[in-house]
């Protein structure tokens, strides 16, 4: 069973342009968009990261020193090796598409739907990529930083019932 630094070293060997960093005991690697599915499936099948803890996203619009727009975050854990690894994929408009990891971890289904709902990242090969929280007809992706906090009037786009009608 390998340690986390061995896993990271092997990952860097195998995939080009993988960078890693550590913050408060948490190891993070950044992989390229084109290699993200291969890297994740390698981590799952060869290094025992059998649990997908979370899939989420960060919008770095106007963030200081940021060069990429979105950071897609996969938090992995190995239940036997007791290792934790954060994998990050940087995405930029207009190519906001990554392969879905549902074939690797079933649990990614709803998490990827949530990321699609809130950030508009498309997961190719997802079995059922619909909005999960917002209504179907909602047009925007509200957790993007260029979406106004109070919305664009969606919350008031309803018919009004008066006493006479109902």
């Amino acid at each position: 069973m390998s340690t986390l630094s061995e896993v990271v070293a092997a990952l860097k060997d195998r995939f080009a342009e993988v960078t890693d960093s550590e913050f408060r005991g948490q190891t993070r690697v950044v992989v390229q968009q084109s290699q993200c599915f291969d890297a994740l499936s390698c981590l799952k099948n060869e290094y025992g990261f059998d649990m997908l803890v979370d899939v989420t996203c960060v919008d770095y619009l106007n963030f200081r020193d940021a060069t990429d727009r979105f950071g897609l975050v996969y938090v992995l854990a190995g239940t036997e090796s007791n290792l934790q690894l954060t994998v990050r994929v940087m995405l930029n408009e207009p190519d906001l598409t990554v392969p879905s990891v549902v074939p690797l971890w079933e649990g990614a289904n709803w998490m990827e739907r949530e990321v699609w709902d809130m950030f508009g990242i498309r997961f190719e090969g997802h079995p059922d990529l619909r909005r999960i929280l917002l209504p179907e007809e909602f047009a925007a992706h509200p957790l993007r930083k260029d979406y106004p906090l109070q919305g664009r009037g969606e919350r008031h786009n309803f018919p009004v019932l008066t006493r006479a009608e109902a």
Binding site: L61, D65, R152, G153, R155, F158, P159, L161, T162, R163
Partner: protein, 191 residues
């Protein structure tokens, strides 16, 4: 014309009798969507005992209710449900907006939270507070009872007053869908 009435006979109007019956048997529809719902439950429970005012029969079917108590914030996905339930209730019906969130959106001034249910359904009584104490809700129900006694008729005339038909204040300043997007200006010193 003089009619001798026995001592135990009271003369009244039929309107007044009907209103008296209605106000003392309000059956609430608990539309509890958030933390205010807990206080609503406390109001119905033994310590505060809503049964003293004839309003303890919480029904979860809108067809059996005549008082909707909206307790908690209503999000845009919930609002069509709220309206459907309101439409399913039979006349005569009343609505209490309980708490800051139901009345105004409260602190949740975000894209998904409706800023006051009175924008979309008629409201008879507002209860301030976050959450309101059970005493406040009881006071609102007592006030509503007075209102029913004063206004209610068996012909439903109370629903045809001008004030009831007026559009609510908040509807005057609705934002326009598809308007110009608000984009945060870039911060200074960012490359």
């Amino acid at each position: 014309m003089a009619i001798e009435l026995p001592e135990n006979v009271v003369v009244s109007k039929l309107d007044s009798l009907a209103s008296w019956c209605r106000k003392n048997s309000l059956w609430p529809m608990p539309f509890a969507t958030a933390c205010c719902g807990i206080e609503l439950m406390a109001t119905g429970a033994s310590r505060h005992d809503l049964a003293r005012f004839g309003a303890e029969v919480f029904r979860f079917s809108p067809r059996q209710c005549d008082l909707m108590i909206v307790a908690g914030r209503v999000v845009m996905k919930m609002l069509p449900v709220l309206q459907r339930i309101w439409q399913q209730m039979h006349e005569p019906k009343w609505c209490i907006s309980m708490g800051a969130c139901a009345s105004t959106g409260g602190v949740f001034d975000t894209y998904s939270v409706v800023q006051g249910i009175d924008r979309f359904i008629p409201v008879d009584m507002y209860v301030p507070g976050c959450p309101p104490r059970p005493e406040q809700l009881i006071q609102a129900i007592i006030d509503l009872q007075d209102k029913i006694q004063a206004e209610g008729t068996i012909e439903g005339r109370e629903f045809n007053t001008f004030a009831r038909q007026q559009r609510k204040r908040a509807l005057m300043e609705l934002p326009i869908i598809g308007g110009p997007q608000i984009i945060m200006p870039p911060r200074q010193g960012v490359n």
